[in-house]
Symmetry: C2
Subunit: 335 residues, 2 copies
Amino acid sequence: MSITIKDIAKQAGVSVTTVSRALNGYPDIKPETRQRILRIAAEANYHPSAIARSLVMKKSRAIGLIISELTDLGSGYHMLFDVIRGVNDQAMALGYDLILSATDPEQQREIPYIELCQRRQLEGVVLMGVRTDDPYLKEVLDASVPCALVDIPLTADSCTYVTLDNVQGAKLAVQHLVERGHRRIGLINGHNQAFVSRERWKGYGEGLKEAGIPLREEWVAYGDFEQESGAECIENLLAADPELTAVFCASDIMAIGAIQRLKQLGKRVPEDVAVVGFDGLELTQFLTPSVTTIVQPRHRFGVEAVNLLVRMMAGETPEPIILNPELREGQSTGK
Amino acid sequence: MSITIKDIAKQAGVSVTTVSRALNGYPDIKPETRQRILRIAAEANYHPSAIARSLVMKKSRAIGLIISELTDLGSGYHMLFDVIRGVNDQAMALGYDLILSATDPEQQREIPYIELCQRRQLEGVVLMGVRTDDPYLKEVLDASVPCALVDIPLTADSCTYVTLDNVQGAKLAVQHLVERGHRRIGLINGHNQAFVSRERWKGYGEGLKEAGIPLREEWVAYGDFEQESGAECIENLLAADPELTAVFCASDIMAIGAIQRLKQLGKRVPEDVAVVGFDGLELTQFLTPSVTTIVQPRHRFGVEAVNLLVRMMAGETPEPIILNPELREGQSTGK
DNA sequence: TTGTATGCGTTATCAA
DNA sequence: TTGATAACGCATACAA
């Protein structure tokens, strides 16, 4: 079917060994021979079989991208796409092919991790969207295939991760509000089981402290990252402290819910209550008011995950990568 | 490194042939032998190498998912993710692994299509996000690898596509507005080079005709699927016919732009002007008012693309698949 | 019912 | 500078 190295050898009147070496740039080939072989290969539109090559070299030049549909990170859905692109871009840039495998816990279709790795001889795996308590993770940590986790703060022998400095992100949000003159700032957090929630809570506290504002417990509400919970939480917060003038939400989706409810309650945003979200979703810019948000560099998550991977494949044991958040101003905090 | 069929054979005290056949369910194996082999393989956590198997069987059990970042479909960005999931889900269900390869025209990193197919011995390819006039496409149509196109209405020997019935979709939108009592209905279309634009224009015309409403040229404006153009178009349309009471937009993003501009102009939605969008983006539900939209079954696009592919791989030459749109009511058309 | 031998397309070892 | 030859892990035609 497809043309092989053997065909090229025949055409060029040399052995397959010579062709292989000519194509792979070995020095011990007479220049004219090489030229001839190169020309013939190009004319024949020959491309070496990655499969045969993988078999003999025991290196597949392929990495896996495994996505286990996330649930508890909330709004994670929106994160995925750009991360995928980042992984793809960097993998391609480094000459790796990408094997995508999105599992779905709900549909009971998790692929045995190890099996995929073995079957396709993956050299490494980027894993994302997994809950910290997913049994899946154990399989991964125990395996010997290098693994880069996205937004899952775990390390092991051949496993590390890339995530955001969530503490810093939350702090940025609070600082921004403080600069705008706010002193009574609420927090609508995600549920406390999520790692990021604890981090963002910490950042919120630090932000207040730096501004000399004592943290008040009734300023903090816990949602589930989704829209409806944002609405409920803001209502509760206002009931607890009607003089609240600003709120930081641990997800853009909750911020949207909060803003909608504020409007229903007759409050203006940002005049009566300013709102900051988290994630940097595109859709925040489509809204009126547009939402000030802490932007996660999603594409870079993917890029750095691959970078970590190749370093691990090279035998290194790199430190986790903690990316820096940025604040993007919208209308929801004045401006 | 990884355990092979040879190891199993040794452990079981049989030949590799026997192991191979036992594992692959051939009938000519003594039941007890098979049991023993199966047990040993399971205990050893053995998984056959897809690579070696591909080489000998000349079938890779892998299909490619090639995405060339689209531009002219507009809001296509939002379409991609669910389609990817659909492709992934169905490929996995049918036992195929997925090789993802997103190219990016802007970054000049298109991978030669043929090369990827040859390198990885892909059995078929799903292609999406390509402009109809992309030279890339020619390469594809000429190639012998089966190819399923998403939203690109082209067929060739081993190439067909899946798309939406855009005429019907536009018609649904108009019918919905007519039912709500509207008689002066504008159209904010995408640019005319896009295939879908022509289809939606046609559906718009048919919808009006069925309602006995003569089409008026000043009711039609052409945007570029993006937000800003939606805003400009609605302003132009209202200038041309101030009595317009409804508008159908060929993308949700343009609908959002139109609604924002309408508000700025002091018009209420839907009381003064009702708006229908197109695509069924999730974010339309986060807005106030939420946007009535024509929903594209994005996940099914992916599923059906894979289905087409396997049929082509089996030697069939299936007809294109035209999926049906659905109207999802939001607040932007009353209710 | 099982084993031997061969080949898939490529690279690597060793001789020539 | 080049060419046999073996090997990678597996499936299969043919023999036993």
